[in-house]
């Protein structure tokens, strides 16, 4: 049984729809005791880091998240929150993975922010999360802040800068893109997480 962590940060329904597509049983909860019953956890997120962290602290989920031992997949903001810090409203994050998220710099390059649309993931290590997905495949992104490249990085994407688009540290997996919105390849990635990670 997959537990989807609900802390009021959007795209729960899309993730749930995608799991239904895969005929995977799941439940949605914001309660640690309930979520402890899950074999695997998905931590979605759309929106702004500070409000998300506030909600996690208020519900007691923040401390619990650091102690999770089952396979865990953070999506988009859910991946960024695994890091120590983000410059988005100067927010302390969960600190499970070292590093700071920063904003794409629009500046002279006239870079459009948010980074919105389909972009490629270059896999820099073999990982079960990428089983049957070729390096360079496109996934759907929408975000204005990006995670740095760190030792736990398993996928890299280029948008003016190179940033971490997929990561794994022990049982914690994270993806910056939205597998639930990334067509067949996105479903494959979710399937990999559920079956192989």
């Amino acid at each position: 049984m997959i537990g989807i962590i609900n802390y009021g940060a959007g795209n729960i329904r899309s993730v749930s729809n995608a799991l239904n597509r895969l005929s995977v049983q799941h439940f949605v909860s914001n309660n640690c005791n309930e979520l402890n019953k899950a074999d695997k956890l998905i931590f979605p997120g759309v929106g702004e880091a500070r409000s998300a962290m506030d909600a996690l602290i208020r519900t007691g989920l923040a401390d619990w998240l650091k102690e999770v031992t089952v396979p865990f997949l953070g999506i988009c903001l859910g991946m960024q929150l695994l890091f120590e810090y983000t410059t988005e409203r100067a927010t302390e994050c969960l600190g499970i993975i070292s590093g700071t998220n920063e904003r794409f710099y629009s500046g002279q390059s006239q870079l459009k922010v948010p980074h919105m649309g389909w972009n490629q993931i270059q896999q820099n290590s073999k990982n079960p999360l990428f089983s049957r997905i070729k390096s360079g495949e496109n996934f759907y992104f929408v975000h204005s802040y990006y995670a740095p490249i760190v030792p736990a990085t398993i996928g890299v994407t280029d948008y003016d800068v190179q940033f971490t688009s997929a990561i794994q540290q022990k049982n914690y997996y994270g993806v910056q893109f939205h597998p639930e919105k990334s067509s067949k390849e996105g479903l494959q990635l979710l399937k990999n997480f559920i079956e192989l990670c």
């Binding site: 759309v46 702004e48 919105m116 389909w118 919105k181 067509s183």
Partner: protein
């Protein structure tokens, strides 16, 4: 490299696509859910649904359709038409849409953009700008293009971005429905001055038009309706053409 997005647009009235299509393979050309699935399979990068229902009943049907679309496809989609309160926006996103497109309500009350982007995040707020040329400048029109606001399109684009729009959907009313090509001059003028992505709309008639909107109009995404509905261009054919013109696309 970030790819340029191809976005078919569906006009929906009382839960049915209005113009319909000549896709013979579809059992029901008027069913937006079936059409959405078809476009998604063909390689559309995103979809836009515009609700042109005028009644409350029609709006309810539209929300039900949004739920069905979200269950049927795994690509992002935007919904617009008649979104005039933050609650309207919230309902559309809760039903499974990824973004909402604001238009007349934002013109009537610009602070609506600030409120919507605070509540649902800028990344989910698209502002649609309908533009007509008049005396050497570009003017914003409202209420489905029936009424001029007198606002300058370039200044309005600056304002909506500053208020929190995460993307702009720019339609040339002079070109819309003509199949004579996008107003690339307008697209470029807006795209070059804003920091958010721009979706080009209005006037697509052939592959070259979409290429030009990207290369000359600096659009980040191109939207079209009839050329896709009437199968004048298939999405895969369009993508290989754009690829041959050195435009990055998802294949």
């Amino acid at each position: 490299m970030l790819t340029k997005r191809i976005i078919p647009c569906l006009d929906v009235k009382d839960g049915r696509t209005v113009k319909g299509t000549n896709f013979l393979q579809l059992r029901d050309a008027g069913d937006p859910v079936e059409l959405a699935a078809r476009y998604s399979d063909e390689g559309a990068d995103e979809l836009v649904f515009l609700d042109i229902s005028a009644t409350l009943e029609g709006r309810k049907t539209f929300l039900q359709m949004v739920e069905c679309v979200a269950e049927a496809i795994q690509i992002p989609f935007t919904v617009g038409g008649g979104i005039s309160t933050v609650d309207d926006a919230g309902r559309a996103l809760d039903a499974g849409a990824d973004k909402v497109s604001l238009n007349s309500a934002a013109l009537a009350r610009p602070s609506f953009i600030d409120e919507a982007s605070k509540r649902v995040g800028s990344q989910s707020v698209v502002v649609a700008i309908d533009v007509k040329r008049s005396n050497g400048s570009w003017t914003v029109w409202t209420k489905a293009g029936t009424e001029s606001t007198g606002k300058d399109a370039l200044l309005w684009a600056d304002e909506v971005v500053q208020r929190g729009a995460g993307e702009l959907l720019v339609t040339s009313m002079d070109r819309d429905g003509t199949t004579e090509g996008y107003d690339v001059e307008l697209l470029k003028a807006i795209s070059d001055r804003v920091s958010v992505p721009l979706i080009a709309s209005g006037g697509a008639g052939n592959k070259e038009h979409l290429r030009d909107a990207i290369l000359l109009g600096h659009a980040d995404a191109v939207l079209a309706a009839s050329i896709f509905h009437y199968n004048r261009i298939s999405i895969s054919e369009l993508k290989s053409f754009l690829h041959d013109n050195n435009i990055p696309v998802r294949t």
